[in-house]
Amino acid sequence: MTEITPELVRHLAGLARIEVSEAEVAQFASQLALIVDSVATVQAIANDDIKATSHPIAMSNVFREDVVTPSLTQTQALSGAPESDSGRFKVSAILDED
């Protein structure tokens, strides 16, 4: 059984920028352990001789003409923003004060 510790769940949640309560940590730890055990079976047949497929239909060098076409106006682009100021997205401080 893969061990998914509470520390690992907190670490993953931190990487994913999702706050989790202590109750959720315990719940996710046990659920993720079961799921990881189940998906880890892929290791049984994956060996070094098999190439990885990242894309189902191989395509490379997809180009288009480099021409300027109409796009969203600044107002349209900001229309869904929770907060904006002077034509820009507004966010809280990037750095902690301490």
Partner: protein
């Protein structure tokens, strides 16, 4: 027969002959939505005024004698993970509650260019993660065949709308079976085209190497006409196929399966499938054989690893795709108490805005992609993908199309699998391989299971770019079944009891 139960192709021809107007038809549809939707919850947003104004426009153009596209005037429902200018688009998530996109998905643009009035936006599991619509932040949709059961997921809004005559046509998206599984459990037709056949631009991404938009309808010809309307190259989607796959409408006019080689996938039949599902599936095959098709058995041993590979690749891609919900550019923003940095605002917003399944998959994907685990999980899953493609290539040497039941069971009860994510994931055992391989798949209703009188679906698969083969075999099987039953699949549906 009520106008509501007519097929899109019948409606298109009535509209062309001016036997009915698009306004009359759209009004009738909206009336049925107003009656049924409060109970069934197929639609998250109903766009009454917009639909009627679009219907009026197409009627005016027709009155002027303008030449119009085949489906002009036929109303349609759109899954709520496609961006629509001026219409709220939630993807079934609280994090996008109230978001009104400033742009249209390419498929939406095509629907508008085809002059099809948009009835509204249909319910789905949050960000299309689920098989039952129970993960929608706005409550589940109900199955019109039995209101205590799921209409499948993630596209249960579209499947229940089409099955309950709340729309003749709907758009779905299929990442691991989200068009085909709902079709199977609601007695409707659902098609996942070849990856890249339909533009993904404006589809809120789940698993970008798996997602594909496709039709949800009540018969094969309708699905063909709708695929023709939405397919085609799009410079806005770098994975869009440059070449045309031909006319599906022409393919759906096929009337013979003589000499067609049908491969039964050994790993997706028999054990683990509900007896009534297997029975209906076998009866459908017998009809095809009697009509001159040849059945061979094929084996795809790698399929036993398909679900495992899928639940690494899809969460990995989702964890990256859903990073855009950051409380900055659109959607919800939750301010934690006290002085908060942008990072704390993000974490609080994502905690409040995402449901349990979405959080689970984001964390699983983050784990699969994290350093030290990448090769063992994500890397291995990508190798399984290669093996699945190789098994399918071999199978398609022996057969023109492959077939299996679409799902192991008929519609399950709401709540039945909600506490057990792994049990929920198994519903997609037969549908997932097509997404991993990028090939097209169609689910077609083949009757009712004897145990529960609920719809059973058969799934046909074809090689990449050979979508036409699905329509050719689907059209013939549909006709054979309707002849045998002396009625259509939807004629078996029980009278809806809504109060």
């Amino acid at each position: 027969m009520s106008i509501l139960s007519k097929s899109a192709s019948e409606l298109a021809s009535m509209l062309a002959k001016k036997e009915i107007s698009s306004v009359e038809l759209t009004k009738a549809q909206l009336g049925n939505i107003d009656k049924l939707n409060p109970k069934i919850n197929s639609y998250l947003t109903v766009t009454h005024e917009l639909a009627l104004s679009q219907a009026k426009q197409v009627d005016d153009l027709r009155a002027k004698g303008e030449s119009l596209p085949a489906l002009a005037g036929v109303p349609i429902a759109v899954k709520d993970n496609l961006a629509t200018i001026g219409i709220a688009t939630t993807a079934g998530s609280r994090i996008l509650q109230g978001w009104v996109p400033p742009y249209d998905a390419t498929v939406v643009k095509k629907i508008l260019a085809n002059r099809m009035p948009i009835l509204g936006k249909t319910n789905l599991d949050e960000f299309a993660m689920g098989s039952s619509t129970e993960n929608s932040a706005y409550g589940p949709s109900l199955n019109p065949w039995d209101l205590t059961r799921t209409p499948g997921g993630s596209g249960g809004g579209s499947s229940s709308a089409v099955a309950s005559m709340q729309a003749p046509l709907a758009i779905g998206s299929d990442t691991g079976g989200s068009i085909r599984f709902p079709a199977a459990v609601t007695g409707t037709v659902g098609v996942k085209p070849t990856y890249g056949a339909v533009s993904r631009y404006g589809l809120i991404a789940l698993g970008s190497s798996l997602d594909q938009i496709g039709p949800v309808t009540r018969n094969v010809m309708d699905a063909a006409m709708l695929q023709d309307a939405i397919a085609g190259h799009d410079a806005m989607d770098a994975t869009s196929l440059p070449e045309s796959l031909g006319s599906m409408t022409e393919a759906a006019k096929n009337d013979s399966v003589k000499g067609l080689r049908i491969g039964i996938i050994k790993e997706l039949t028999g054990e683990g499938f509900q007896a009534g599902v297997s029975e209906k599936f076998n009866e459908a095959l017998e009809l095809l054989v009697a009509a001159g098709a040849e059945v061979v058995e094929v084996s795809c041993p790698s399929f036993q690893y398909a679900i495992a590979a899928y639940y690494l690749i899809q969460p990995a891609e989702a964890s990256s795709n859903l990073a855009r919900f950051d409380s900055v550019r659109f959607g919800l923003r939750v301010m934690p108490e006290g002085a908060a940095t942008v990072e704390k605002v993000m974490s609080a917003t994502r905690e409040a805005g995402f449901g349990q399944e979405v959080k689970r998959r984001i964390m699983l994907g983050t784990y699969a992609l994290s350093s030290g685990y990448y090769d063992a999980y994500y890397g291995s899953a990508q190798k399984v993908r290669t093996l699945i493609q190789a098994d399918l290539a071999k199978a398609f040497e022996k057969a023109d199309v492959l077939v299996s039941p679409t799902a192991p069971t008929t519609a399950f009860k709401l709540g039945e699998k909600q506490e057990d994510p792994l049990a929920m994931y198994l519903n997609d055992i037969a549908t997932i391989p097509a997404n991993l391989a990028g090939i097209p798949g169609m689910s077609l209703p083949v009757g009712l299971a004897k145990e529960d009188n609920l719809p059973v679906g058969a799934q046909f698969l074809a090689p990449a770019r050979e979508d036409a083969r699905l329509y050719k075999v689907g059209a013939v099987l549909e006709k054979l079944l309707e002849t045998k039953w002396s009625k259509k699949m939807m004629d078996f549906a029980p009278e809806l009891q809504v109060s």
